[in-house]
């Protein structure tokens, strides 16, 4: 079985969880032997931006010591053999230059999404 996880919602609980929970579950499933790829669309295309920095969160004396490092988590997925696609128009709509993205992401035009999802047995829109 081959699955495509479409990640759309961005920065939902990422500070509390210290990661994006869908990028995280993708890592966990991959580690358990899953055959899956990722499509970033909507605001989630921002996850590929190199310069994200969520460090420094403090509540009273409680200091966050492990801020989310989502771009790094995506890069690690790529090194594990997960194809990570980014919808090109969503990137452009948000003013994100190609050079601002981490290495290893594959941009795909919106019109090709239909063809892409046809290649997978399961398509999960998170």
């Amino acid at each position: 079985m081959k699955a495509l996880s479409i990640i759309e919602t961005a920065y939902r609980g990422t500070l509390e969880e210290q990661d994006d929970t869908i990028v995280w579950i993708t890592h966990a499933m991959k580690g358990a032997g899953a055959n899956l790829d990722v499509l970033l669309r909507g605001n989630a295309v921002n996850y590929g931006v190199k310069t994200q920095d969520a460090s420094g969160l403090v509540f009273g004396a409680e200091r966050q010591t492990q801020p989310p490092r989502i771009a790094e988590d995506l890069a690690k997925l790529v090194t594990k053999g997960v194809s990570v696609y980014v919808v090109d128009e969503d990137r452009a709509d948000r003013g994100i230059e190609h050079a601002a993205l981490i290495e290893g992401l594959e941009t795909i035009p919106r019109v090709k999404i239909a063809e892409l999802i046809g290649k997978y047995d399961q398509v999960w829109h998170w």
Binding site: M1, A3, I25, M29, G33, A34, W124
Partner: protein, 137 residues
């Protein structure tokens, strides 16, 4: 004789915050009445759906006492769905993502709920006729 179908659902919403939780249970109800084998992977807030400590309350705005209000408790709905599935020759295997349970303190769940991992979700999906992910927003 029709073959029993196996469906897997991944849920993420906690109770009472969104219509998705109820729609998900409606789908599971339909599948349960058909005697399907149903897997549920509860991720993030959804681990609170079968939380054992949910309790009813009165509703002064509606002028109803506890009994009259009969406030829905998702844990009761889920228990009823498990019974329904079983009575029809099917089953519901409800797996709460363990780390999600830990961080939410949702360890006390109703009978029939077990703790698991994302690997369980993948295995469930692989062994199913189909899988539906109902994510949160």
């Amino acid at each position: 004789m029709t073959t029993q179908k196996t469906l897997t659902f991944a849920l993420m919403d906690p109770p009472y915050e969104n219509a998705r939780s109820t729609t998900a249970l409606r789908l599971i109800d339909i599948a349960a009445r058909r005697g399907y084998k149903i897997n549920v992977f509860a991720y993030e807030g959804a681990v609170n759906l079968p939380f054992a400590k949910q309790s009813s309350h009165a509703n002064a705005v509606h002028g109803r006492d506890v009994d009259q209000e009969n406030h829905p408790l998702p844990r009761k709905w889920i228990a009823a769905l498990m019974n329904e599935a079983k009575s029809r020759g099917g089953s519901i295997d409800w797996v709460n993502c363990g780390l999600c349970v830990d961080e939410r303190g949702a360890g006390e769940a109703i009978d029939g709920v077990r703790r698991g991992t994302p690997g369980d979700f993948w295995k469930m999906a692989e062994a199913s006729d189909n899988t539906l992910v109902i994510a949160t927003r």
